[in-house]
Symmetry: C2
Amino acid sequence: MDFYSELYNNFNKSNTYTAKVISGKHFGGKLLFHNEELIYTNLKPLDLGYIAAIKEVTQNNKGQVISYEDSRIFCEPITKKPAIVICGAGHISIALIKICKLIGLEVTVIDDRPSFVNDGRQAGADHSICEPFISALSKIHSDSSTFFVIVTRGHRYDTDCLREILQKENAYIGMIGSKVRVKRIKDTLLAEGYNEEVLNNIYTPIGLKIGAETPEEIAVSIMAEVIEVKNRSLKCSEFPKEILNEIIGESFENNPTSLATIISRKGSAPRKVGTKMLICNDGRTIGTIGGGCVEAEVKLLALDVINTKTPLLKTVDMTGIDAEADGMVCGGVVEVFIEPIF
Amino acid sequence: MDFYSELYNNFNKSNTYTAKVISGKHFGGKLLFHNEELIYTNLKPLDLGYIAAIKEVTQNNKGQVISYEDSRIFCEPITKKPAIVICGAGHISIALIKICKLIGLEVTVIDDRPSFVNDGRQAGADHSICEPFISALSKIHSDSSTFFVIVTRGHRYDTDCLREILQKENAYIGMIGSKVRVKRIKDTLLAEGYNEEVLNNIYTPIGLKIGAETPEEIAVSIMAEVIEVKNRSLKCSEFPKEILNEIIGESFENNPTSLATIISRKGSAPRKVGTKMLICNDGRTIGTIGGGCVEAEVKLLALDVINTKTPLLKTVDMTGIDAEADGMVCGGVVEVFIEPIF
């Protein structure tokens, strides 16, 4: 089984880490770790010094380039976009589901009313549960990266949801409601013995204060708040699941592709280290590494890499005179590693 | 020509105002004003006192109920959702177009590259212009409610766009760019003689600060900022164009419908005065007046109104014991006026 198949199998687990040799003797070498154990490499023979050098930086939890002997190695923790669980499938939820899918989150919607859950599915939810909220939530496995949004049709259901969710690992709990309604729910739970600080950490009234009026505007305010919380502690790029799906062969009909990754950045380049773009030999792409000038150039190089089947490390300097002439001074310098996928 | 046809014809003009008699002798009477002139009424005979009473409040620019003799009249300025012009059709724009259409804005996208403009059309843009930015913008008529978003592929094009847009009426100018790039553009324009305060009013770097990383996240941050600016001075509900289109007969296949409007509100009801929902006789709806308990009840009443062809004014008290039993204490009291459309 190859590197990306192994990565795909470990994608939903945390503590997955990759390292790619981007220059030097073992140029093109790849290593995949899970829970600090090496589970795949194409390096032959395997110099254990690579492993030691890589393990020194895994705790940093961010994409970075290290040196080992004559090689440079791009090390990267693999983080997937988080899951979001939406309780209630009314107007706000439907709009929120659509925006969450645009952002790339994995969406679960819960409601006890079949036609509403069906609307949620139509809107794009990955998973849907049509059951009373308490039993539905008891079936959900969450972790410290899961987002919970409570937007049911009444405060009794909101309260039921909150009690269940407070017992689950989560990155965020947001709850709809007027100040009056929210206070009533918090007071109820306080009287039941729930911890006051935990209750105060609930994001409620939900969403950034942007004066949102309609359900769609409220959905945008919630999405903005979720993004803010998600990215507050985000040190490395989330690996887009759709790229991995393509690599495993789902939509580009097994056409040859290459994968471009930003492995270092200086100055004001738009996208951070770890950002990826997949290029198909017919020019179609998934993801973006910043648009404009960088992307156009990288796309051409990526098409070459598909033909040569040889990886390439390229420095793209966006502060140059050529870029100026085209009106495309973005500022900054990025190194992009392009690897053939076959 | 009837009331809603006249309203449809005047919908894109500002200073359009409606008044509906919701109780008293002329219950069901309607008046439509444009630029302070009466252009439609079904009141016969027409007591000019109505006009005088209504004109006293048009300056308030918000939905409100007034009294005249034994009648109550719901007066309402007609505001449509604003237009947004997006310069550039790259990754951020494509995501932004989709979210703008979810929100209900009228979207124009401009780019000089045909395939990119086509992507913008596919994403849902209402209008698209494939020309150099300067000539494209010169063709755009804007007013004080138009939003401009500049997200082209390079700072020269951004600057070209900005020069054109600064000469146009607008509600908002937002421009993408790093601090370095944005400063460079502002300095260029300052040196050309543009007003410093005007330049400082440009929203740049664009979007709310939510740590957005991907184009889709940036689009959400821009949408949130646009909503905040749009609603900052919004005193009355925007009249949803899709409801007017339905009334004029576009999609409900001329099935009978009724229109529900919130005409007054006390307490913590979720939606403001002027909010509308159209109900078709087969149960389909467009828009929402708050979801949950209120909406379910209003929907049933609206179906009755379709049958009786008689308007109805209903007070919905959401603080009652019945609502409590269903877990649906929303709080607040609303009056909803439901009128048959035929």
